[in-house]
């Protein structure tokens, strides 16, 4: 079998490795789009702040990792797919045939319709190349405007702040990370940032970026404000890389449409990661969940099916974790809750703590936290397993901080109760 994988991000690499594990003799080619070794976009913020070098962003660290596994790695990008001939064509004109194909081409930043977006000093923050340019421009003390305070924006915010620039964030929504956190938590983040001299402007849109007098650039907002900027970073969301599939016959929406086996409408062609509309566990519907753990899950499922091991995906959980200048927040699943569900809330802004749990019946369906770092993955465990909480639900409504106890209790053999017997045998 010849397996071709388009995209060398986490999904592509995981798929290649998984295929190798289950199909020792298969031929595997992994095609990257950027002329870099397979790397992780998630590591870019840490590259910017100097925590790691470019090597540190690489998805696999061992020398010759792909060669050792017999995975051919080559550069693309692929510009078209011929489903009839079962081949792909790369930008250099070369073509490759395949038995199975995985589309894991990820996403690219959305470029909002703003005048002056192509000016020098305006960058997205998505690729290693972007990171190199930002590092050039982001000088200590210089004014920097970050457009977008979504999840990715907030991660970049952390690095820019650590780089010591004079930072202003402009967000269209009414709070920071509106798609990840509610108003209370979003505003906690905002106050926290403001306390650390990061200016946060919400409910604001950029009208134009022109050359400025106080700095190289001036960012004009629709409300009339003007912000000086030596550098403007755009982080207003991403969209799937599906353009090259136009006319291929592979069905797409916002992303590539897949069935529960992560196969597209074309047999033998699969999709995974940010480019694929996989099943959202919380809704049961297909959805774009552009996060690394989901990309890896997709890839795993797709790869098994590509090897002929029929494996159905029951859904991925949307979740995020964010460190905003030391204030750590996370959200899971249906964090906004559902009608008729119950809620447990703890708000202690002074202590930088917030926990909001959402229940449907006596099952946890969503959660948000600020300031919680111990055992936080248990929230995923409870939501994903859907185990009934029983009496623990009300205990959590009283004290949401008892989440770890609740988890251990319900994960044990049934409810934790009853006679366990002395540690040393007693005569009857």
């Amino acid at each position: 079998m010849y397996h071709v994988i388009l995209g060398a991000g986490p999904a592509g690499v995981t798929a290649a490795e998984t295929i190798r594990k289950h199909a020792p003799d298969a031929e595997i080619t992994l095609i990257g789009g950027e002329g870099e070794p397979p790397y992780s976009r998630m590591a870019i913020p840490y590259l910017l702040e100097g925590k790691i070098g470019e090597d540190g962003t690489h998805l696999r660290q061992e020398d010759g990792h792909y060669e050792t596994l017999g995975i051919a790695y080559r550069h693309g990008p692929v510009i078209s797919v011929d489903t009839g001939a079962r081949s792909v064509t790369c930008a250099d004109g070369s073509t490759l045939g395949f038995d199975t194909l995985l589309i894991a081409t990820g996403a690219t930043p959305i470029r909002p319709p703003i005048e002056g977006l192509d000016s020098p000093g305006v960058h997205t923050c998505w690729t290693l190349e972007d990171a190199r340019r930002i590092t050039e421009h982001a000088q200590k003390g210089e004014p920097v405007v970050l457009v977008g305070a979504g999840f990715i924006g907030c991660i970049i915010l952390e690095s820019l702040a650590k780089m010591g620039v004079d930072l202003t964030v402009v967000e269209r929504g009414d709070r920071m990370v509106p798609r990840m956190l509610d108003e209370t938590a979003g505003n906690m983040l905002r106050h926290w940032c403001e306390g650390q001299d990061v200016r946060v402007i919400t409910e604001a849109e950029v009208d134009a970026i022109r050359s400025g007098d106080r700095a190289a650039l001036a960012v004009h907002l629709k409300d009339g404000q003007t912000l000086p900027a030596a550098l403007v970073v755009i982080a207003t969301g991403v969209r799937s890389n599906i353009g090259f599939l136009d006319g291929s016959g592979i069905e797409t929406g916002a992303g590539v449409k897949v069935d529960p086996y992560h196969e597209t409408n074309v047999p033998g062609i699969y999709a995974a990661g940010d480019v694929a509309e996989g099943i959202n566990l919380s809704t049961g519907h297909n959805d774009m969940l552009a996060i690394q753990p989901v990309a890896v899950e997709h890839a795993y499922i797709a790869a098994l099916n590509m090897c002929g091991i029929a494996t159905e995906h029951r859904g991925s959980l949307n979740m995020n974790v964010l460190d905003t200048l030391g204030l750590i927040s996370s959200s899971f699943g249906t964090w906004e809750g559902v009608e008729g569900g119950d809620r447990a809330v703890l708000t202690d802004e002074a202590a930088g703590r917030y926990i909001r749990l959402e229940f449907e019946g006596d099952r946890l369906i969503g959660a948000q936290t600020v300031g919680l770092t111990d055992h936080v993955g248990m929230l995923r465990g409870l939501i994903q397993t859907g185990l009934p909480l029983g009496a623990w639900k009300n205990k959590l409504i009283d004290s949401p901080t008892r989440i770890a106890e609740a988890y251990v209790a319900v994960m044990q053999q049934g409810p934790v109760s009853g006679y366990t017997g002395p540690k040393v045998a007693l005569p009857a």
């Binding site: 995981t14 696999r60 991925s316 770092t373 995923r380 366990t420």
Partner: protein, 163 residues
């Protein structure tokens, strides 16, 4: 032959010697708040439950790490490499067992690494509630079943699913 931690809550007395041994080995002091193993106390049910990483076969934390900072060693143990960990915390939310925690004082994540093959918690446990056993022995299967339960809702979607 691989060995694994086997936990029998029925034998635990809640003494916290495991937490102290763990923090001593890993942090150089007695500090139960930084232990990788934690004993949960269900007072009204007269039950104590030691809890730590089960070293999943194909671990969620490892798969979620964007920089390959968590690897599996020859004993099947998932080890965090501090030199590679950037502190992104994705593993902390990815692990459905909640056994990877962020340590703000180092900016890295911490998890049980079986102390390099000689787990201090098991050595310190006075009642054999925590033992380090060959994987063939029964306790390990029980642990695995317990672990599998966490993936029940998504089986076999996760990397932890039986292949």
């Amino acid at each position: 032959m691989q060995k694994a931690l086997t936990i029998d809550p029925g034998k635990c007395t809640g003494c916290k010697q495991c937490e102290m041994a763990c923090s001593y080995v890993n942090e150089g002091e007695f500090n139960v708040s930084k232990s990788r193993i934690r004993v949960f106390d269900f007072h009204e049910e007269a039950r104590f439950v030691p809890y730590t990483c089960t070293q999943c076969d194909e671990a969620w934390c490892q798969q979620a790490c964007p920089v390959n900072a968590i690897t599996t060693n020859e004993m099947g143990v998932k080890v965090v490499h501090d030199n590679l960990c950037v502190g992104c915390k994705v593993c902390t939310i990815a692990c459905p067992f909640g056994t990877v925690n962020y340590n703000a004082s180092t900016g890295k994540v911490i998890k049980c690494d079986l102390c390099g093959g000689d787990p201090a918690c098991a050595a310190a446990c006075p009642t054999d509630a925590i033992t380090f056993q060959d994987v063939e022995q029964g306790g390990f299967d029980k642990m695995r079943q317990w672990a599998a339960r966490t993936t029940a809702g998504t089986e076999p979607s996760g990397p932890n699913a039986p292949a």
